[in-house]
């Protein structure tokens, strides 16, 4: 029997200290709470035992929060449980997200032993003042130290997360951050635009009209984005998605699954899954989640298959995030309906305005389109 490829996401909702801009499900917690959570997580994974055989896991991603703050023994236990329930492909891409300053040799060795082969380090900026503004717990030196330690301990594939558009940042300091990071030659760089999310301290500080003036202007922020694309491109990092740049062959296979509607299962608090045409998210309340975990698979089975209309919308608004955009042929193969019969008007409208382009039967956003992608993608909702 041919097994279906599957991505697995494991959410670790703990961190040392919450950053001012962060609106992910994550908070500081004591050791007891951490182990209680992991026990639920293990039960949740086990609940998939009846169907585990059907899948071949080819990507794993431990994200958070900061997965590296829980005990490496717990991390290893989760990996073991995953291997018990599912088959793993030989060339599995297994990523663990870590915060600079939380790694040591022992931890790294333990991760390698557990089967991780990719590390994602959240640096955000190489500028000390900007790190402070963001509320990060580490300085640049701590990052470089952890980065080199990881390389020495067998991580041949490392991603560095960066943020631009930070209060007080200008194109010059952004350039310095990029140059510093490229100097270390990571395999993958994610560069996200800082978004001021509701219900964060940053929203309180920078959400008002007056607060917005403390942020780099829209034009400067877009110049930073364009600079990163050009510079990283020259340095051998191809932009394969809005915010993701990789050396050849080092694109994150796990992330690509999200944009191209491949199947993945999410375990843990608030984690999202896409499987068998269904989308499903775990409870984001801790108590509710712990209660739900042992019957997670049963709950998933009850989910209805999404209507085709929603699937089409997702195909477009996710796929258009990829640098290569979407292939009309893929759309037609998936939905058995002519691409033009669904999206001709909106595609024509934005082709005329220069926000979309069509190359070799693929539709993709232009640079101009990426800058305002939000409202263009919204137009693909049917």
């Amino acid at each position: 029997m041919i097994k279906r490829p599957l991505g697995i996401y494991v959410h670790i909702p703990f961190c040392v200290e919450k950053c001012g801009y962060c609106d992910f499900l994550s908070a500081p917690a004591g050791v007891d709470e951490q182990s209680k959570y992991v026990r639920a997580l293990l039960k949740e994974i086990r609940s998939y035992e009846p169907v585990g055989d059907l899948f071949m896991v080819d990507t794993v991603f431990f994200g958070g929060g900061t997965p590296s703050i829980i005990s490496p023994t717990l991390v290893a236990k989760i990996m073991d449980r995953l291997r018990e329930v599912f088959s793993f492909a030989d060339e599995v891409e297994a990523t663990i997200e870590c915060n600079p300053g939380t790694l040591d040799e022992k931890k790294l060795k333990s991760y390698v032993k557990a089967g991780f082969n990719r590390l994602s380090l959240g640096l955000q900026s190489a500028n000390e003042r900007e790190l402070k503004t963001l509320g990060r717990i580490h300085d640049y030196a701590a990052f470089e130290n952890n980065y080199r330690l990881a390389r020495r301990n067998g991580f041949a594939n490392i991603n560095v997360d960066l943020i631009f558009g930070i209060p007080g940042q200008d194109i010059k300091s952004w350039k310095q951050t990029l140059e510093t990071v490229v100097g270390l030659q990571p395999d993958h760089i994610s560069a996200y635009s800082l978004i001021i999310e509701k219900n964060t301290p940053f929203h309180y500080r920078y959400g008002s009209e007056a607060g917005k003036k403390l942020l780099p202007g829209e034009a400067e922020e877009r110049a930073m984005y364009r600079f990163a694309n050009d510079y990283l491109g020259d340095m051998g990092y191809r932009r394969y998605e809005f915010s993701n740049h990789a050396k050849k062959g080092k694109e994150s296979r796990h992330n690509i699954k999200y944009w191209t509607m491949q199947e993945y299962l999410g375990f843990g608090l608030g984690a999202a899954s896409y499987l068998g045409g269904k989308r499903f998210s775990n409870p984001s309340d801790m108590e509710e989640y712990i209660e739900h975990a042992p019957n997670s698979y049963a709950g998933f089975r009850m989910q209805p298959v999404r209507p085709e209309k929603r699937a089409m919308e997702e195909f477009m608004f996710l796929g258009l995030r990829m640098a290569d955009g979407v292939a009309k042929a893929d759309f037609e193969e998936m939905f058995h309906v002519r691409f033009e019969s669904v999206y001709k008007n909106v595609v024509d409208k934005y082709k005329r305005s220069g926000h979309l382009e069509e190359v070799d039967e693929r539709i993709r956003l232009t640079d101009k389109g990426i800058d305002v992608s939000n409202r263009i993608l919204a137009d693909f909702l049917l």
């Binding site: 991505g7 996401y9 959410h11 992910f24 991603f61 994200g63 994610s190 996200y192 635009s193 978004i195 999310e197 829209e218 034009a219 922020e221 877009r222 809005f242 915010s243 699954k257 999200y258 993945y264 999410g266 608030g270 984690a271 999202a272 899954s273 896409y274 989308r279 998210s281 919308e313 997702e314 608004f317 996710l318 305005s353 926000h355 990426i370 800058d371 305002v372 992608s373 939000n374 409202r375 993608l377 919204a378 137009d379 909702l381």
Partner: protein, 604 residues
């Protein structure tokens, strides 16, 4: 109920300036005559629309019958008719006054006479009503009853020395009011044995009973089963039910005779057959001539009303039809706008009337409305000698075809404390007012008279007046007539497209100012697009103001974590939802509320 002879009937209303306690006084009288105990009483029984209670104003006339045992030991029948207090509803007031023989004039012991007090008194005197002054709110620390008595005597010329001094709120001295009604207000005249002659003063529509006609019997009697004739419409009906007014309910009875106030139903399908002011008589024994009617309500302010969702057009039409059943002053006719689609041009007595209709449509009929700027009726004299009544600025003929334009003007009276005279006169001058004169009511208060163009007072004049006098000024006006004036049509262009729903007529002198303010306001209201949007104000082909809505340069989503696309979807859906509340003008999306926001341009 034992029979109460005609000489022990009193038909009266209560007139007052807004907030002088008219409804509280009515409530207290209802309570004291035992119609309802104070526990049963929802405060302010007579204001029975939600809107009326919330705003503390009376919109529709209401009536109630009370039985009062007077100090002479006899029972008296009081028919109390509540009237609206606001100048917009003078028409309703005059309808109710026609059913009365007397009026209680309520004056606030602290504030004294206000502009609407005067206006209502003059209306009451026009109808030959006997007026009984009552000084209210004497429990207030700032009450000065002697000063107010002097004011009533000096300004209105009514003897007020014996006026009951009461607090309707606490009930203090209220029995004096009831006794004074018995002693000083006249009993109705009229002969119950004459042919039936009854005046319609209002009607409401009931889905089960049809139109319920409110009337006052002048002569004769009306009873169940009688065939009646509506003298002006010629319609004939068989009376199904006659009755009188309880507190918030209709109480059927055998017959109503001369001097009485009540209602009848007769399976009347349309309220048009029961025109207010018409005379009801008996078909087989008609009276010689109808009673004099009174002036019909003429709408003075017009605006376009459009459903926010174009598909709701039929719902809006049905709602307007139903509202009109109870609101004879409301007019409407279908119109179309390039920007707003299908809607109605509606006529109102004034801006308050407009707001109330709008609120009722939104609340009671669940409609989301887009309203265009209110306009008055302009008389456009064309070069070919014809005159058109212009209610929609869009329909203004080409300037080369216009000889001249006339606009409506009013005689306005503003009562104000002397320290604010300067500020008020400034305001009136800004609004193109013509000063007519000033009278001192007493050392600290004056009555200022101005002739004002109606179009200058329909937007935000009340608000401006209040803010410049710290709430102390009161205002009343009546239409004087039409005057030739230098008016122009101001057009608004959004991204170089003329938006018909935003056009309006403006005086040449204020055109620049208004054009500039409108552009500024629209710039705030119109969201940024993917391209730059010019907003221009123009008179003919001449651009007089411009603002620019800058293009969006950045609109991106945050990192999508762990494949959780539901949040992304929600964001995109929200964006799409926002578009639905927009009106497409060319390729620009304009929020619905932009059309209304331009109404209030006065700086805060």
């Amino acid at each position: 109920m034992e029979h109460i002879p005609q000489e022990r009937i009193r038909n009266f209303c209560i007139i007052a300036h807004i907030d002088h306690g008219k409804s509280t006084l009515a409530d207290r009288m209802i309570e004291m005559t035992g119609l309802l105990s104070s526990r049963e009483m929802q405060s302010q029984v007579l204001d029975n629309m939600d809107l009326e209670r919330e705003r503390g104003i009376t919109i529709k006339s209401q009536a109630v019958r009370l039985i009062y045992k007077a100090q002479d030991g006899l029972d008296y029948m009081f028919n109390l008719i509540d009237t609206p207090g606001h100048v917009d509803f003078n028409y309703e007031v005059s309808r109710s006054l026609a059913a009365c023989d007397g009026a209680i004039l309520v004056v606030d012991a602290a504030q004294g006479i206000e502009a609407q007090t005067l206006a209502n008194v003059y209306l009451a005197l026009d109808h030959d009503l006997e007026i009984l002054p009552v000084i209210n709110k004497i429990d207030l620390p700032s009450a000065e009853p002697q000063r107010v008595i002097a004011e009533i005597e000096d300004v209105i010329g009514l003897p007020a020395e014996d006026a009951p001094q009461v607090s309707a709120k606490t009930g203090l001295n209220m029995e004096q009011v009831l006794e004074a009604v018995v002693e000083r207000l006249p009993a109705p005249d009229g002969d119950p044995d004459e042919p039936l002659q009854a005046l319609i003063f209002d009607s409401v529509y009931d889905p089960y009973k049809g139109a319920i006609v409110f009337f006052r019997v002048r002569n004769g009697r009306v009873r169940k089963g009688m065939e009646v004739l509506m003298m002006s419409s010629g319609a004939v009906f068989e009376v199904v039910e006659v009755g009188y007014f309880g507190a918030g309910q209709f109480i059927p009875c055998e017959e109503l005779s001369a001097g009485m106030v009540g209602y009848l139903t007769a399976s009347i399908k349309t309220v048009r057959d029961t025109r207010v002011g018409d005379t009801i008589t008996q078909k087989d024994r008609p009276c010689v001539q109808p009673l004099p009617g009174y002036k019909a309500a003429l709408p003075m302010v017009f605006c376009g009303m459009y459903p926010a969702d174009g598909a709701k057009y039929p719902d809006l039409r049905d709602a307007l039809e139903k509202l009109q059943l109870n609101d004879a002053a409301l007019q409407y006719e279908p119109e179309t706008s390039v920007a707003l689609g299908f809607g109605f041009r509606c006529g109102f007595l004034g801006l308050l009337h407009l707001e109330i209709v709008q609120e009722r449509l939104e609340r009671e009929y669940n409609l989301d409305l887009v309203t265009t700027a209110p306009s008055v009726i302009y008389k456009v004299h064309k070069t070919d000698g014809t005159v058109i009544d212009l209610t929609n600025p869009t329909n203004l003929p080409d300037p080369t075809l216009i000889e001249y334009i006339e606009e409506p003007v009013v005689n306005g009276e503003i009562m104000v404390r002397t320290e604010y005279i300067g500020a008020i006169m400034d305001l009136c001058n800004q609004r193109r007012g013509k000063y007519l004169g000033m009278e001192y009511i007493e050392a600290t208060r004056a009555l200022i008279k101005y002739e004002l163009p109606l179009n200058e007072i329909i937007y935000d004049f009340f608000d401006a007046l209040k803010s410049r006098s710290r709430g102390y000024a009161s205002f009343d006006y009546e239409l004087k007539g039409y005057e030739r004036s230098d008016m122009e049509k101001l057009d608004i262009l959004i991204n170089r497209e003329e938006v018909d729903a935003l056009s309006f007529i403006v005086h040449a002198e204020t055109a620049y100012e208004r054009g500039r303010k409108m552009c500024e306001k629209l710039k705030e209201e119109i969201p940024r697009h993917l391209f730059e949007i010019p907003i221009q104000a123009a008179i003919g082909s001449k651009i007089i103001a411009r603002e620019t809505v800058k293009a969006v340069r950045k609109d991106v989503l945050a990192k999508c974590y762990g494949g959780d696309i539901t949040r992304k979807r929600k964001l995109l859906e929200k964006q799409k939802e926002g578009k639905k509340r927009m009106r497409q003008i060319g390729n620009v999306e304009v929020p619905q509320k932009a059309f209304m926001s331009v109404l209030k341009l006065e700086e805060e």
